[in-house]
């Protein structure tokens, strides 16, 4: 009597298989690797020189050295984290491989976990050189932030995954015609997340909205650390709670959109 595998529960093997699939893809394509490094490098050099110029003319920025460069790097963690997630997902749409995956024993949660791992790998390839450039050109040691950096990073990456899961669900449901959402959705958070200015700059009613977004807590926390040399733990805890809610909500929405895609045959016709 032959033996068969019944694919219940989470499988590390299947998650590893998907990570391997994206790793093979990255290694097979030097433009994909270059793209990961190119924009972050340009960003940090441009904003670094701007910070240098402003700090020469403004007493505040001379005091608060590194807030601009720090904000640029943290914004890139948020933005590139989401792109790293979503582009790996889009690779399946571009390759018309989604049907193969959806009919395999791969579960949606395993698929999403593999995309999260890939977002970390892609982020490392793009952001680590960026931080080295900040150190080399502008003397800003991003890693000198120390342990608070872990709290900043975790909260930003969790938000980026929530946005990535939501955007991927929309593309899954609506096809590649919705691809532009992947590239632009995070920018909707930009004015409200208060990356380059404090929350107090916003009108009171917008401040209420801003405090619903975990990145707002991170950027406020970064400014508190770099300007006042205070690590505000309560901000990070609040952000973590909101992130937990966002992750659960985005996963639920993804499953609902997947079900809707199956109702509408979108998985068989994933074009425009």
């Amino acid at each position: 009597m032959s033996e068969i595998a019944v694919h219940r529960g989470l499988s590390l093997n299947r998650i590893n298989a998907m990570v391997l699939r994206y790793w093979y893809l990255l290694l097979s394509s030097w433009p994909r690797l270059l793209e990961l490094v190119y924009w972050p490098a340009l960003q940090i050099i441009t904003w670094g020189f701007l910070q240098n110029y402003i700090s020469q003319t403004s007493g505040f920025f001379a005091q608060a050295g590194g807030t601009l460069i720090g904000a640029v790097i943290l914004w890139d963690i948020l933005f590139r984290g989401q792109l790293g997630f979503s582009i790996s997902f889009l690779e399946e749409m571009w390759a018309r491989n989604l049907g193969n995956l959806m009919m395999s024993p791969l579960k949606p949660i395993e698929f999403l976990i593999s995309l999260m791992i890939m977002s970390l790998i892609r982020l490392a390839i793009g952001v680590i050189p960026m931080t080295l450039l900040a150190l080399f050109f502008f003397g800003f040691n991003f890693y000198a932030i120390g342990l608070p950096l872990i709290a900043f990073f975790c909260n930003l990456i969790f938000t980026s995954w929530s946005v990535g899961i939501f955007a991927s669900g929309l593309v899954l449901r609506n096809g590649l015609g919705a691809e532009s959402i992947v590239w632009t959705l995070m920018f909707a958070l930009m004015p409200l997340a208060c990356i380059y200015y404090p929350v107090s700059v916003l009108p009171p009613w917008l401040q209420v909205v801003a405090w619903m977004l975990p990145p707002t807590y991170v950027f406020e926390g970064m400014r508190a650390l770099l300007i006042d040399h205070v690590f505000r733990t309560e901000l990070m805890v609040d952000a973590l709670v909101i992130n937990a809610v966002l992750l659960v909500a985005s996963f639920s929405i993804f499953l609902a959109l997947l079900r809707s895609a199956k109702r509408n045959s979108s998985l068989l016709s994933s074009g425009e």
């Binding site: 009597m1 032959s2 033996e3 068969i4 595998a5 019944v6 694919h7 219940r8 529960g9 989470l10 499988s11 590390l12 093997n13 299947r14 590893n16 298989a17 998907m18 391997l20 699939r21 093979y24 893809l25 097979s28 394509s29 690779e91 390759a95 018309r96 491989n97 989604l98 049907g99 193969n100 995956l101 959806m102 009919m103 395999s104 024993p105 791969l106 579960k107 079900r259 199956k262 109702r263 509408n264 045959s265 998985l267 068989l268 016709s269």
Partner: protein
Amino acid sequence: MNIEQTMSRKPPASDPVASAAIDVAHLVKVYKATRAVDDVSFRIARGSITGLLGGNGAGKTTTIAMIMGLVLPTSGRIHVLGFPMPEQSAEVLGRMNFESPYVDMPMRLTVRQNLTIFGRLYAVPNLTERIDRLASDLDLRDFIDRANGKLSAGQKTRVALAKALINEPDLLLLDEPTASLDPDTADWVRQHLENYRKSHNATILLASHNMLEVERLCDRVIIMKRGKIEDDDSPDRIMARYNRDTLEEVFLDVARGRTRESAT
């Protein structure tokens, strides 16, 4: 975290639904105002090869996609290998596989890389040996380390078939398995499918426009038209009923609305 379980293959139960490879009852799929599949019922015995025939828009691909769980039916029920789909898909997805022109293998990855990934997804034991065996059986060795995107149409079809066979499925769903193949390669693929069915007692459901292929391979033919089953029998009996010598002639009769009576 890896809690995949291995269990003994159950012998066919006396329940006809459980013992069938596929059991479809009153299946309906409605897209807005269009009934793509309209009250379709059939049961496919294990170890058989069944052809699903019909013109474009007849509902073949939608029916197969619903059996695979890629499309949710509007109503009706589906059992695959004795388990209701999609509710208990985890029980059967590892025991079935498919090939379809609606999906591709990743183009930048080599054939070996693609087969490795799908082999891992299906938890194939002794994967390296399995890939070597498939490369030998399907004559992939000359291009197994070449990117999938650099293969000819015929080579890609053989690779897609290798992916469909990677887990030695009990149930194989094929949508136009020999489309875009030259006659020699197509014949060779058909021979391989026949051998696979015999050696594994596998069930194969294939949708095809190639009537000679269906005549040669299939024990049974289900003809669909406008979402409904128009006829369902062995190729010989269907041809006899329409008083035709080939399934192609039967297909044309059905497509052009000639009834069995008027065809005779």
